[in-house]
Subunit: 80 residues, 2 copies
Amino acid sequence: MIKARIVVTLKNGVLDPQGKAIEGALGTLGFGGVHGIRQGKVFDVVVDGEDRAKAETDIKAMCEQLLANTVIENYAVEIA
Amino acid sequence: MIKARIVVTLKNGVLDPQGKAIEGALGTLGFGGVHGIRQGKVFDVVVDGEDRAKAETDIKAMCEQLLANTVIENYAVEIA
């Protein structure tokens, strides 16, 4: 079995209203001096088999087809 | 300025219906041999100042108060 972590983040230049809302909420809670907040997704997955290269290829295909919206998001695959 | 990444994940034992749904969808797309999918959140933030220890303390307080539900979630802070 191979464990991997996938991190999906918005591409630069894509507006992040969620990040802006969090920034506002943190300000309300008294956390000044915090900005540029960007929220993304992280997926931990377990893939059968021991072939790390194949696992990475498969996981990238999963990102392309389902886990990331590649028009506005980047993804990074970290094989554990 | 200090950049940091916060990764918020479900604690072990907490059911992840979203992860199960993704697992099913991946199976439908023909990706067999994938399991244990757990979805979490990632936040990239920029904190004013140059004091890394203070930044980490502040960011942990942000996690405790807003970014993570510490009853069911863990968080990890990575200072860049």
